[in-house]
């Protein structure tokens, strides 16, 4: 019988492989992660349907649209991720040049619009101009186009996402500052965290190697945020 030699190096190698397995998430994990978030988003969308139909309230409309767009974005995101894992490549355009670019464009566009709609749902009373929403669509399209096109240095993508984050953080802060109900700080913290982790999710697709070690943490944090919002929605809509 072979004697198993437990040397310091073999233990280290074993732990290393285990950790590598843990951080290199498989198709199963991707599907479960996406499925839970899509379901959460759709439950939020449908559980607020009646409230919107009865009131036609603009805030409820944009809040619902935000989660519909999150669901759509996650659907395309999971598609891209599964393609990555299936072909063991890190760039969708290298696998499916035309179809991949379109999928990537749709994913980034829906993602950015989801965050914009969420922000707009709390700021629409201040930003009364109808053109604001067209400006959001236009900005989301430009960002999606830049992220879809190849050839830009990595720093460009990072800078673009940083600018997006600064805009969101500033708007969320302004919304909190103008809020009559100062006790609702946790709502704005949730929105800010949702935006941060959503940007991480975009970066995870655009630059797949960027978050390799922290991928599981990002997934768990994103799930936690979506489940918290779902809980709040269900609590208030009975």
């Amino acid at each position: 019988m072979d004697k198993i030699q437990l040397t310091g190096r073999s233990i280290e190698k074993g732990i290393g492989q285990g950790f590598e397995k843990l951080i290199n998430l498989g198709i199963g994990t991707e599907i479960i992660y996406s499925f839970v978030i899509i379901i959460c988003s759709l439950i939020i969308y449908y559980s607020t349907k009646e409230l919107y139909e009865l009131t036609k309230h603009k805030g409820i409309k944009y809040f619902r649209l935000s989660f519909l767009f999150f669901a759509l974005a996650y659907f395309f995101r999971s598609f891209i991720k599964i393609i990555f894992l299936y072909f063991n490549k890190q760039e969708i355009k290298a696998i499916l040049p035309f179809f991949g670019s379109i999928t990537l464009f749709i994913f980034v566009y829906f993602s950015i619009m989801a965050i914009f709609f969420l922000i707009y749902s709390v700021m629409y009373k201040k930003w009364k101009k109808q053109s604001t929403i067209y400006l959001f669509h236009f900005t989301a399209m430009i960002i999606s186009l830049i992220m879809t096109l190849s050839g830009f240095p990595l720093q460009w993508y990072l800078l673009l996402n940083l600018l997006l984050f600064i805009f969101i953080a500033f708007t969320v802060y302004a919304a909190y500052h103008q809020s009559k109900k100062k006790k609702s700080l946790n709502l704005y913290v949730i929105y800010l965290l949702l935006s941060i982790f959503w940007i991480f999710n975009i970066l995870d697709i655009i630059i797949p190697s960027f978050f390799q070690t922290f991928q599981l943490i990002i997934y768990l944090a994103s799930l936690g945020i979506f489940l918290t919002i779902l809980y709040k929605v269900l609590k208030k809509t009975n």
């Binding site: 607020t48 009646e50 409230l51 009865l54 009131t55 036609k56 309230h57 603009k58 805030g59 409820i60 944009y62 809040f63 749902s121 709390v122 919304a175 809020s179 109900k181 609702s184 709502l187 709040k232 929605v233 208030k236 809509t237 009975n238």
Partner: protein, 87 residues
Amino acid sequence: MTKRNRLEIIRDILKMIQNNHNIKPTPLLRRSGLSSSRFKEYYLELIQKGLIKEVIRKSKYIILSEKGQRFLEKYQTIINFIDEFEL
């Protein structure tokens, strides 16, 4: 007295219709506490959204629709939701 918001005005109009069966538009306008132009805006909006219905017998009466009834039942939930998410 604080200024009523849009949803509060709608609730008040619907409650008046609920409590006064077969109310006519003019008494409703008087009781709503709104100017005639604002009342007309709300009145048309409520008809358009299907929250109230006009019934013409000998004269014109207003009744609450099923959707209007549902609005009143759900009013507190709507307000709580809007308040929770600062919409």
